[in-house]
Each structure stands twice: as C-alpha cells, then as structure tokens.
C-alpha cells in the first residue's frame, strides 16, 4: 500500500510537469498581447523594455523553467510564511506577478479562495448530506413513488445546466419575490446577526443551484450502488439470522454501498473549484472561477497558467486519494 502510494505520487510529478508545459505552450501560441491596452504613443524601445520587465523577452524554455522555479519554490514558501507567520521561511526572488494587477498571483488567489470555498464547498457538503439518504431510501423502496420522484428530480437536476437554473432562481427569488440580492457582496463582514442574515441571504441561491447539481449526481450513484448490494447473498444471510431491517439496511448494505460513492465524492472535489466557474459568473461571486475568466479575457498569462496548474494538481491529488480510499475501505482490493 505504502509503495503503491509512493509510486503514484512519483508518477504524478511528470504528469503535472507535462500538463504545465501543455498549458504554457497553449498560452505561448496565443495572439493576445498583454501590452495591447497600452497607449500607442509609447516609443517602441520603451515598449520593448516594458515587455522585458513583464518577463516576455526571453525564449520560451527559459521562461518556463523560471516559472517552474517560482511556482515550485518561491510561491509555496511565501504561502507557508503567510500561513504560519514565520518570516524566515520566505525564499528571496521574483514572485509570479499578475499582468492585470501587478501583484503576486498567490496573494490574489488567497483573497479569492474563501468565497469559492464557502459557496461551493458548502453546496458540495449539502449535496452529499441530501443525496445519501435519498439514494438509500430510493433503492430500498425501488419503483415506489418516492423512487420515481427522486429519479425524476435527480435526472432534472443532472440535466439543467447551471447557467439556466441560476438566472431562473434570480428571476423568481430576486426579481419577483425580492428575497435575495442578485449580486454577491464580498465586502460584507459578518460581525452581527443582521450581517449574518445578509450573508445567508446572498449565499442561498448559488449554494442551492450547486447543491441541486451535486446532489443529483451523487444520488444516482448511491441508488445504483445500493441496488447492486441489496441482492447480494450476505443480505439474505443477515435477514435469515433474524436481524431487523434497520440493521440490515443501515449497517450492512449502506456500509458496503458507500465504498464506490466515497470515491465518486472524492473525485468530484476538484470540480468544486473548476466547475463553479459558471455559477460564480452568474451570481457575480468573485471566487477562483471568476478570477480565471477575467484573467483569460485580459490575456493575463501568469494568472491563467498558475490557476490551471493549481486545478490540475487538485485533480491529480484527489484521483490519488480516491484510489487509496477505495483500497482502504474495500479490503478485497489490493494494489501490489
């Protein structure tokens, strides 16, 4: 098990390097010029030195190597130093600078992360809490009206794109009923009950949209997994021993059915960050997804590159966690 984990971790390094290279080269090909917004009156030689100041003068492999060093060594050291408050951790050197704001990319990401984590993370949590019981009951009473309704709702939740449900909710709850604000206010500081209520109000719609989507997916997996297990021999044995239905279903079947579902949940976690791009732009939540969109619009290459590679790291990491969880939860699986 340990050697397997180690091998997978070592395998992840070339994968991530390759992904970073692919994204870097994609951006390299782009016709977008970060200097396009500058006035045309700037003399050509000044323009060249400005390009050099942005780090655009050198050959691509040198810039890629420099970016790797900054991303791998300097930025993590600063993030660690900010988190722990230990200043000696900082490594001296150029940091990754965003073209748009001229401030380090890691600082901007740190500002945007809480919004994304609150809205998207909470909706993922609600989605799981909602989906598991529904999936269990749907499978236990297969083809009952509850199951039919649950299947229909999960199918609908699965099919409705978030850029449709988002505006629909805004129309109903913001425009017609006036319960929730249309735009997410990031500057709101929760220091009183009144502000707490406001925070709840502005989070309600984006969280609901994403919860519906997440719950729909997880319910389908939970139900299918439960149905697979309900007909197994060990369930009949448990019933034959005279155990109550409650014990049979909630202890025996659910525990076995959760194994694939837990891995599905782990695999979905990176989507918390990437998949919320649309929801964030619908509700004007200035989280990571929105940061990426504005960076793409503004040809802010360091930001796009860094964010994409961070997303890739998350995906690779949670794939690994899902595989390991699978082996931990299911003793029949051995990675050797």
């Amino acid at each position: 098990m340990f050697t397997y984990t180690l091998r997978r971790l070592l395998m992840a390094i070339p994968t991530l390097l390759f992904i970073a290279l692919v994204i870097f080269l994609l951006l390299e090909l782009s016709p977008g010029d970060p200097m396009a917004d500058m006035p045309l009156t700037i003399p050509p030689e000044v323009r060249e030195s400005m390009r050099a100041a942005l780090g655009l003068g050198e050959a691509w492999y040198i810039r890629f190597a420099k970016w790797l060093y900054m991303f791998g060594v300097i930025e993590p050291s600063h993030v660690l130093a900010n988190m722990t408050g230990l200043d000696w951790l900082r490594v001296e050197g150029q940091r990754i600078i965003s073209f748009q704001t001229r401030s380090p990319v890691a600082d901007i990401v740190a500002q945007r992360l809480p919004q994304t984590l609150w809205v998207v993370g909470l909706s993922y949590l609600f989605g799981i809490l909602l989906a598991v019981p529904i999936g269990i009951y749907s499978a236990y009473r297969q083809y009952s009206w509850f199951d039919q309704a649950g299947t229909f709702v999960s199918m609908v939740g699965f099919s409705l794109p978030t850029f449709f449900t988002g505006p629909l909710l805004i129309l109903i709850f913001s425009i017609w009923l006036g319960w929730f604000p249309i735009i997410y206010d990031t500057t709101l500081v929760v220091d009183s009950w009144e502000n707490f209520l406001k925070q709840l109000q502005q989070m309600a719609m984006p969280v609901f949209v994403l919860t519906l989507f997440n719950a729909a997916q997880i319910t389908r997996f939970m139900r299918a997994s439960m149905l697979d297990n309900m007909t197994q021999d060990y369930v009949r044995t448990a019933r034959a021993k005279g155990m109550t239905e409650k014990v049979v279903v909630l202890v025996h079947v659910v525990r076995n059915s959760l194994i694939p579902v837990v891995t599905v949940i782990a695999l979905g976690i990176p989507q918390i960050f990437t998949g919320a791009i649309i929801t964030e732009s619908v509700f004007r939540v200035n989280g990571l997804g929105q940061l990426l969109i504005t960076a793409i619009y503004a040809s802010d290459f360091p930001m796009v590159l860094t964010l994409s590679v961070v997303f890739a790291i998350l995906i690779v990491l949670f794939n690994l966690i899902a595989d390991i969880l699978y082996a931990v939860l299911d003793p029949r699986i051995r990675y050797d």
Partner: protein, 300 residues
Amino acid sequence: MTDSVVFKPPRNQWWDVWDQFKTHKGALVGMFVFLAIVLFCFVGPWLWIHDATFINIRARNQGFSWTHPMGTDQLGRDMMARMMKGGQVSLAVGIVGMILSIFLGTLIGVLAGYFRRADGILMRLTDLFLALPLLPILLVMSMLFRQQLSSLLGVEVGMFLLIVTAIAITSWMRTARVVRGEVLTLKEREYVLAARSIGTPPRRLIIRHILPNVLSPVMVSATLMIATAIITESAVSFLGMGFPPDFPTWGRLVADGVDYMQDYPSRSMLPGIFISLVVLSVNYIGDGLRDALDPRIRGR
C-alpha cells in the same frame, strides 16, 4: 404449445431492442421530445416567415403574439426564428462533437485493449487528459484560436470547427476507458480465439468481431455525449467565448437574455428551457438504451 411459437420467423435483434426500449416510458417520451425539437430547428425555418437576422427596430421588445409567437428581442429580431437558428447550431455542435469524440474514444479504447504494447502508453495518455482542467482549457483554446481560424475559414465555419474539436479532444477519455475494458474481456472469448486460429488478420478481427460487441456501451455513451457537448457549447457561449454575438446559439441567447431579465424574462428562459429539454430527453434516451441494449435485462 401453439404453432405460432414454434414457427416464429427469425427476427432481427434490433426489433427486440426496440420492444424493450418501448417499455421505458421516459425514454419513449424523451425520443419524441428530441425528434420534435430537431424538426422544429431544421424544418421550422422553411415554414416560418421571419428571418433570424432581419432587424425590425420598430417591433423591438415585443411580447408573445401571433406574428411573433416567442416575441422579439431588443433589435426587433423574431425570437422564434432565432431559436430555430440557434438550435441548428447547438444541435449540430452536439451531434458532430459526439461523433468525433466517440470516434476518438473508440479508436483509442480498441487499440489499447487489443494491442498489449499500446496499452500502457495509451492509458497513461488517457489519465493525463483526465487530469487536465477541462473547462479552463476549453476557454483558453477558444480564446486563442478564434481569430486565426476565423480569418482562415470564415467566422462561422472556423468557430464551429474549433468548438467541435475542442469538445472532442476534452471528452473522449470516458468512452476510451469503457471500450478498453470491454475489449479486454472480449479478447479472451472463444470466438475470437477461433477467428484468430483460422488466420484472421487483426484489422478484420477488430472490425468484424470486436466492434459489433462493444456497440452497446458505445451507443449509450454516444447519447450521453450529445448532452455533454450541447451543455459545453452553451456554457462556452454563455461565458462569451464561443460564437460571435450576432450569431445565435442557445447558450448565447441565454447570455444575451440575462441582461434583459428584469423586463423580459422569457428571452433567456426560452432558450434555457430548450437546452434543458434536449439534455433531459437525451439523458432519458440513454437510460432507455442502456436497458434495451443489455441482453440480460431484455426479455424479462
């Protein structure tokens, strides 16, 4: 015993599939809805009097009426004509993207499953693609190559090719994995061994004996892929990275309508409802096909 059972003429297996498919009510309804929308989009423009790009500024922002059943937009263009035009693009992107992605996925899956030497490298490639953050890459791709392709092939064709290939490149992995797993088990079957023992070359073995047997998982993932492709295209258009503004697609229409949400909610709701209906019906068709194509479930 009745004679009719004994002398039943041999039936094409697709009739059995159809019989099973018919019993799945959701799939049946889904199929009719999907066909109705396809007819609306592709036959509708021939019957409908208004043109999608005709600007009649005097008739702007109208509600539902007999002359404009779905109203008009802020430039007085007929919404129903725009919905048909947008639907043509969205459906075409969905279907062509699906075909490309399924082709790529099946090709890689069969090669990886059949040829042991190719397996390792192709599956590493699949894992690598699965680790890519897809939506950001899609956005970056459509942002970067939009102008070059537009000047090369024209705005519409260039953008269409770009979106379709981007969708195919970022969505073939799941099919490849399913097909590979299926091919790995099929390869060990006796009939494949028999075919090989009489000297069937690999190419014919794959086309004649293996491909027909992986057809059912491929067909199921093909239907689901249409839904994925339509949603992806709409999302990219919604974010303003897809087709140009004067070129309607359903995602684009939703995005344009959101700005006028307060006064004219129907303008973003209608295309949204159409996207949702197509995706929902396609998902139900996929569900029904999965049951119908599985010989263990069929006939029960």
